[in-house]
Every structure is written in structure tokens, then in C-alpha cells.
């Protein structure tokens, strides 16, 4: 029975390794390199124990806890404790993403492309393709775990001891494998690659949000999230290994369920039924704009939900800001006390900037869809119709702009309604204006994307680097003491941090003019170039 179900699994495993070796190597080198780079940078950034303690204190606030997780060993904030606190939570997400994308490719994407059918027509077992994927991921995550562990230990930094380092690697490997199994399960449930990746990422996002909400409010809640489990190892501080065992056991159960479902379903089918579709198009799907919205409707809904949850989480902690910040002397460095301005307002201004950058992601995705459509050869048919280039790009740009207005509004509203509830004498309006003030900056980002689509369609990915840089400057600009000319390169730096700063009409007007100019140039390029499909 066993040999029948898994026949040729080793050949298929080697084939996956061969096929994806570069992609896999890039992920591992990326994750290991990123982890080590930060580990090596910490001793330079925070030389003394006193500096580290200062940092520890600044980290103890609900927003940071929601973002990176609850810290352990904060009273003796060693480099190890810093790594486990500030880096590990984020790295679990990246490891999760790596596994989701790779496994979705090996399972549902191959099945959708008809490759699984080809393999099954050869003398290979029914479970061999998925089994091979799981085997490869087990090896891959083990390599990653050991590489991270030994790598961290080999830095020789004090407090990065062998056991802690290996546990640190094991956390990343275990959570990675967990999401490999989750993806294998989702691949059984949904009928498309899109659905598999979407559902798996929803599980990953859900795990993160439950952990975030739990860490801020109720510890028990965090134990409903696998990310909560692995962070509960208290790596480098108490080095508990049992959460790793728990995670691996859960992984095994999910994988067995996925294998079972795979044996009882038809090739190409999923367990979630696909509804029969519409015979005719609705009135609304009759223009390029309608099409653009229709194609991204579910993505927009998903992002809206995520942003509401995040904004509500942030809003719920605002009431406690004063209590958290009052006792900490050097908080003055992090958020210098300003005359007539409450700490809550200062903190709110930082949150708004972070939310604006997060909201820029879906807005960019909306306009980048135009490039994706071209890459998938779907534009040619539309451009054979009386649809002008301006109308086409304009539709996607308009959708992106409207989405950014909508999401900034929703974000301000969600954070505000929570804030009004927890802060005394707070009003809703300042939340909304503080959020919407970022609109010109988001639009500059959209205009730059339009410019790339118009002139450098192969390099539209550069916009993510720009956004990443923007995030670094806004979030860490003061901490890393970046020079003004450098931070000035991102539009977000020119937005007044309301409610602390006054609304600046000039800066908003200048940014809108810049956006219009760059955007117009993008349209010009798009009008002049070939459409490659």
C-alpha cells in the first residue's frame, strides 16, 4: 500500500530540487543572510548594556508588542534577547511565506497546469507529488534551521550561545514546515493556485493577528496561534524546546489530513465547491474600470479587513500610551516631550505614518495589476477593442487612487472609533485628518509606479525597494540618524505628522503637483511603447 501510494517519490523529490534549486537557494540565503546581518549589526548599534536597557524600555509598549511580539528577558536585554524579541517574529512570517509560495507551486499550481496529471500517468503513486513536495520542504526547512542556528552561534557575539542559536533556527524551521503543511491542506480544499495561496496567506495573517491581539490583551489568546507557540520558546532567555515539539506535532496532523484528502479526491478538484458562474456580465463589468475593480475585488476586501483589524488593534492601545511612557525617563529620546502636545498624539502620528505605508501596498498592487495583465497576455484582446491606452492605464490608476482614499479613511475611522473609546475627551475627526494627510504621498508612489509601467515595464519591482526604503526612513530614520537629504527622498518624509504638526498646505500642494507631473510622464511613456501581449 505504502509503496503504491508513494512510488517514485525519491525521483520526484530530486526533480523538485533540480527545478527549484535557485529559488530555494535564494530564499535560504536571504533569510539566513538577513538574520545574520541584523545580529552582527546589533553590537555596533547598541554598544553598552545601558544602551540596550534603554532600548528595552522603549520597546515596552503595546504597538511594538503587537508588531513584533512580547519580549522576554527585558530586564537583562542581551543581544540574544534582542534578536528573539525584535527579529524572530518577523522572520517566522517570511519563513511562512517561503513555504506557502513553494508548496503552492509544487502542488496546486502544477495540478492546475496539468503537470500532476502527466506525472500520475507515469508509474508514480497517487501521493508522490505531494509527498515529494513535503519531503523537499522538510529537508529545506531543516537546512534553514541548522544554517540559521550555526550561523548565529558562529558570529561569536556574547549571549548568542549554541543552544539558543539552534533553538532560534528551529523556531524558523518549525514554523516554516507548519505552513508547508497548511499550504498542502489548502491545496486540497481550493481549486486554484490563487485560492491556495490566498487561503494559506489568510491563515498566516490570521496567526499573526491572533498573536498580536493576544500579546497585547490576553496571553491565552496567543496560544491559539502557531506563531504564538514558537515565540513562546523564549529563545535565548529560557530556551523552552517543547513548543517546537508541539508545532511539529501539529504540522504532522495537518499533513496527514492533507494526504488523506488527497487520496479521496479527483485530480483537478477541490473540496470547496466552485459555484456556477454568471451567464452574462453585470452592468458594472462593462468598462476597463469595472474590469479592473472586478479583478481585484476580493483582494481589496481582504486588505480592508486586514487594515481594519490592524487599525483597531493600534487604536485599542492608545489609551495606555501615557501610562507606558510616563515611567520611562529616556522616552524623551524616542519621543521628545513637546510643549502642549500629549504623548498619545505623538505616538498617534507615528502610527499614522506606519499605517499609510502599509496602505500603500494594496494601492501599488492595484496599479501594478496593469503590468500583470500585460505579462499574462490579457491586454492584447482589450487593446484590439476601441479602448485607448490612456483609458486603460487611467482606469487602473483611478482604482488605485480611490482605494488609497478609501483605505486611509477606513484606517482613520477604525483607529479613531477605538481611540475615542479608550482615550478621554478624544474626537474622531483628528484621526481621520491625520490619516488622510498621507494621501499626496501615496499618490506620489502611485505616480512613480505609473512612470515605471510607462518606461521600464520590466523593472516595476523597483517600486517595492522604494517603498521599503520609505518604511526604513519613516520608522528608523531617527534611530539610525539618517541625514535629511536621504530621508527627504521619500514622499512620506514630507507629510506633516498630524495631529502633532499642523497641516501644511504647501507641502501637500507640491506633492500633488509632483505626482501629477510624474504620472503624466508615465502616461506619455505608456502611449509610446509596445504592449507585449
Amino acid at each position: 500500500m505504502k509503496s503504491r501510494l508513494f512510488k517514485n517519490i525519491s525521483t520526484l523529490s530530486r526533480f523538485i530540487f533540480k527545478k527549484d534549486r535557485f529559488k530555494m537557494a535564494l530564499w535560504i540565503v536571504g533569510i539566513v543572510g538577513f538574520t545574520l546581518a541584523v545580529a552582527v549589526a546589533f553590537p555596533d548599534l547598541y554598544r553598552t548594556a545601558a544602551e540596550r536597557q534603554q532600548l528595552a524600555a522603549s520597546m515596552v509598549n503595546p504597538a511594538v508588542t503587537a508588531l513584533v511580539g512580547r519580549g522576554y528577558g527585558l530586564d537583562d536585554y542581551t543581544y540574544g534577547a534582542m534578536m528573539a524579541h525584535q527579529m524572530l517574529g518577523m522572520t517566522t512570517i517570511i519563513a511562512g511565506l517561503m513555504n506557502i509560495l513553494l508548496v503552492a507551486k509544487h502542488t496546486r499550481a502544477d495540478e492546475e497546469a496539468g503537470l500532476t496529471e502527466m506525472i500520475l500517468s507515469l508509474p508514480s503513486g497517487r501521493l508522490s507529488t505531494m509527498g515529494a513536495s513535503m519531503a523537499v520542504m522538510a529537508v529545506l526547512n531543516s537546512i534553514m534551521a541548522v544554517a540559521v542556528g550555526l550561523g548565529l552561534f558562529s558570529t561569536g557575539i556574547e549571549s548568542l550561545d549554541l543552544e539558543g542559536s539552534l533553538l532560534y533556527g528551529a523556531v524558523i524551521g518549525a514554523i516554516g514546515l507548519f505552513f508547508a503543511a497548511v499550504t498542502a491542506l489548502c491545496a486540497q480544499l481550493t481549486e486554484s493556485t490563487r485560492g491556495t495561496i490566498g487561503l494559506s496567506i489568510a491563515v498566516l495573517g490570521g496567526a499573526y493577528l491572533i498573536r498580536a491581539a493576544g500579546d497585547v490583551s490576553n496571553e491565552t489568546l496567543s496560544w491559539f496561534s502557531p506563531i504564538g507557540w514558537v515565540l513562546g520558546t523564549e529563545t535565548y532567555v529560557n530556551n523552552y524546546w517543547w513548543p517546537i515539539i508541539l508545532t511539529l506535532a501539529a504540522t504532522l496532523c495537518i499533513a496527514v489530513l492533507a494526504f488523506y484528502l488527497n487520496t479521496i479526491r479527483d485530480v483537478g478538484a477541490g473540496f470547496f465547491p466552485s459555484k456556477p458562474g454568471r451567464m452574462t456580465a453585470s452592468l458594472f463589468l462593462r468598462s476597463p474600470f469595472g474590469l479592473a475593480l472586478r479583478l481585484q475585488r476580493s483582494s481589496l476586501v481582504f486588505w480592508t479587513l486586514g487594515i481594519v483589524v490592524l487599525a483597531v488593534t493600534y487604536g485599542s492601545v492608545l489609551g495606555e500610551t501615557e501610562i507606558y511612557f510616563e515611567d520611562i525617563e529616556f522616552m524623551e529620546e524616542f519621543l521628545p516631550v513637546m510643549e502642549g502636545v500629549s504623548l498619545t498624539d505623538q505616538f498617534l502620528a507615528v502610527l499614522m505614518a506606519v499605517m499609510a505605508i502599509i496602505i500603500t501596498i494594496p494601492a501599488l498592487l492595484m496599479i501594478l495589476k496593469l503590468k500583470g495583465e500585460e505579462k499574462n497576455q490579457r491586454l492584447e484582446s482589450l487593446f484590439s477593442l476601441p479602448v485607448s491606452r490612456i483609458r486603460m492605464m487611467g482606469s487602473y490608476l483611478l482604482l488605485a487612487m480611490l482605494s488609497s482614499v478609501f483605505l486611509l479613511l477606513v484606517s482613520g475611522l477604525a483607529m479613531g472609533s477605538m481611540g475615542v473609546a479608550v482615550i478621554e475627551e478624544a474626537e474622531l475627526a483628528p484621526f481621520i485628518t491625520s490619516s488622510l494627510v498621507y494621501l499626496p504621498a501615496v499618490w506620489v508612489m502611485l505616480a512613480v509606479t505609473a512612470l515605471l509601467i510607462g518606461f521600464l515595464p520590466k523593472y516595476t519591482g523597483l517600486i517595492w525597494l522604494y517603498l521599503g526604503f520609505s518604511f526604513m526612513t519613516v520608522y528608523f530614520g531617527d534611530l539610525f540618524q539618517m541625514p535629511g537629504w536621504l530621508t527627504g527622498l521619500t514622499p512620506f518624509d514630507h507629510v506633516p505628522g498630524m495631529p502633532v504638526d499642523e497641516f501644511n498646505f504647501m507641502s501637500a500642494a507640491v506633492m500633488i503637483i509632483v505626482a501629477v507631473t510624474i504620472g503624466a510622464a508615465g502616461f506619455f511613456g505608456y502611449l509610446k511603447r509596445d504592449i507585449h501581449g
Binding site: 458562474g277 454568471r278 456580465a281 490579457r378 484582446s381 476601441p386 504592449i531
Partner: protein, 302 residues
């Protein structure tokens, strides 16, 4: 009046010359067959005509308007079916048809339903579940249910079964009878022979032959199979005879169309017992161009 007029179209992709001075002329009410192997430049030519690609050199006009700068105006009157129909996986076939028809302007509900019925398409299915043939049906229904003056069809039947191919050919004939013009790129030479008034052959980015089928037939050869009472030794010496295969008193060979008279008068003196001739086929012409000028046609006797 010419509906499509392309002169000296050249298109470079980096160093690669995809088109090298392509000329193409399609008149009103004409079905033009555009043939050539994969990678010869058929789709590139069509994309230039659609204004999706900009010609490096040359001029392309449709309805007397520039294909690049007046694309939108032109597209109100044309319908296009690509060879590789890529649709949105999460929209249904019916939704896509409506979107295309609506964007072109002027919807014909009755025609749409009739075509869906004729092509036996289930419009309620998501496009991701369609086979290549079904995706092509979606594009064909969208194209033929709109009021276009010019149809540009790029290998539209490559995924259709023979029954659906026939439905397609009926659609083309109906459009032609209504005075519409059609540019049909195809690999299926019998289809081109059946439908087209004019044919153009493209090879490595150049038009190497174009004209009416009648004109082109003069360039090609007739396949003959004869049996004579007496052996005919001199056959091999007659100019214009190719690929001669003799088997006793039987001979199979091809002859240049203009030398047919000489061959028949030579053979008649040997007492013809049996004479079978196959008409010159487009396939022979096509193969001759593609296999190089030296080798003979490979048509079947009939």
C-alpha cells in the same frame, strides 16, 4: 478600396528583425489568407496592424487611418481573435463575451445567443476551467456577435474540433456575404484554400508570395500519375518534369503548370491507358517555399 494597406513594415525587437519590409493589401469584401510557419512574423504583423506594437519602419493603414495613432477609432470597426486566447480565470465566458462586445459598442443580444448555441459553449463556466478550444470559442463568439467591418483572426481554429471548425467556416462565409473583410492567419491550408480569395505567404519576416489563389496556382505544379501502353523513356528529359518515379510502364511525377501541354502531347504518342491528376495544392506551394527552392513539392497524388 483597400481595407488594410501595409507597406514596408519592419519591426525590430532589439537586434532581432521580426518583420522585414512586409507588404499586405486586403480589399473590401475579401478574405485574405495569411500563412507561414510559427515564428515567421504572422502574429507580429497582426499586432502592428492592431496598433499594439509600433512598427520600426513602414506604414500600416486600416480603413485609410494610421494603425498606431488612430487605433481607437479603427478598433470600433474591427473584431480580433488572437491565436492564444488568454482570459481572466475568475470571470465566466459569458461575462468576457459581454465585456468585449460592450467595449466595442453596439450589442446584439440575439446574435450572441445564436452563436453561443452554434459553438456549443457553456457561458456560465469560469474561464480557468475552459480548454484551449473553449477559450477560442469565447473569443469567436465575442468577435462574430459584434458589428465589425474587418475581422482579424489569428489561427482561430487551432484548438477547435472538426465540427466547430465547420461552424467557424460558416461564420466566415456569412461575414463575407455581408461584405465584411477578413484577415485569416492559419496553419490549416485546406481551410485557407476553402475560404480565402487571396493568400500571402510570410517567411522569416518577409512576404515571399502573395496573390489570388488562381495566380499562385500558376506557380505551382500538378501531380500526374500515368500508365502507358509503351514505356516512355523520354519523359525525364522534358523540362518542367520533377520527382519522376517510374515503375515499369507507370510513372508518377509533378509537372510545372505551364509545361503541362508539352508533357501531355509527348505522352499521347505512347498510348495513355490511365491518367490521374491532382490539382496543385496550396500545401505544395507552401512546402516548396519552406523546404527550400531545390526540393520538389511533396503533394499526394489523387
Amino acid at each position: 478600396m483597400s481595407v488594410i494597406s501595409a507597406k514596408g513594415l519592419t519591426k525590430n525587437f532589439g537586434k532581432f528583425k521580426a518583420l522585414n519590409g512586409v507588404n499586405l493589401e486586403v480589399d473590401k469584401g475579401e478574405v485574405y489568407g495569411f500563412i507561414g510557419p510559427n515564428g515567421a512574423g504572422k502574429s507580429t504583423t497582426i499586432r502592428v496592424l492592431l496598433g499594439v506594437l509600433k512598427a520600426t519602419e513602414g506604414k500600416a493603414e486600416i480603413f485609410g487611418m494610421d494603425a498606431w495613432s488612430e487605433a481607437v477609432e479603427i478598433h470600433k470597426r474591427i473584431a480580433y481573435v488572437p491565436g492564444d486566447v488568454n482570459l481572466w480565470p475568475n470571470l465566466t465566458g459569458g461575462e468576457v463575451i459581454d465585456l468585449f462586445v460592450k467595449l466595442r459598442g453596439g450589442s446584439q443580444r440575439r446574435k450572441r445567443e445564436e452563436l453561443i448555441d452554434r459553438f456549443k459553449l457553456d457561458p456560465s463556466k469560469k474561464c480557468r476551467t475552459y480548454s484551449k478550444g473553449n477559450r477560442q470559442k469565447v473569443a469567436l463568439v465575442a468577435a462574430f456577435s459584434s458589428e465589425a467591418d474587418l475581422y482579424i483572426l489569428d489561427e482561430p481554429t487551432s484548438g477547435l474540433d472538426p465540427l466547430m471548425e465547420r461552424v467557424f467556416q460558416e461564420c466566415v462565409k456569412e461575414a463575407k456575404n455581408e461584405g465584411k473583410s477578413i484577415l485569416l492567419s492559419s496553419h490549416i491550408l485546406s481551410e485557407v484554400e476553402r475560404l480565402c480569395d487571396k493568400v500571402g505567404i510570410i517567411r522569416e519576416g518577409k512576404m515571399i508570395e502573395s496573390g489570388t489563389l488562381e495566380e499562385l496556382r500558376h506557380l505551382t505544379r500538378t501531380q500526374l500519375h500515368v500508365e502507358t501502353r509503351e514505356p516512355s523513356p523520354g519523359l525525364v528529359k522534358i523540362p518542367g518534369v520533377h520527382n519522376l518515379q517510374k515503375n515499369g510502364r507507370a510513372a508518377t511525377f509533378q509537372v510545372d503548370s505551364e509545361k503541362l501541354e508539352d508533357v501531355i502531347s509527348y505522352l499521347s504518342s505512347y498510348g495513355v491507358l490511365k491518367l490521374e491528376s491532382a490539382p496543385p495544392k496550396l500545401e505544395d506551394l507552401f512546402m516548396r517555399h519552406y523546404k527550400g527552392e531545390n526540393s520538389g513539392p511533396v503533394g499526394e497524388g489523387g
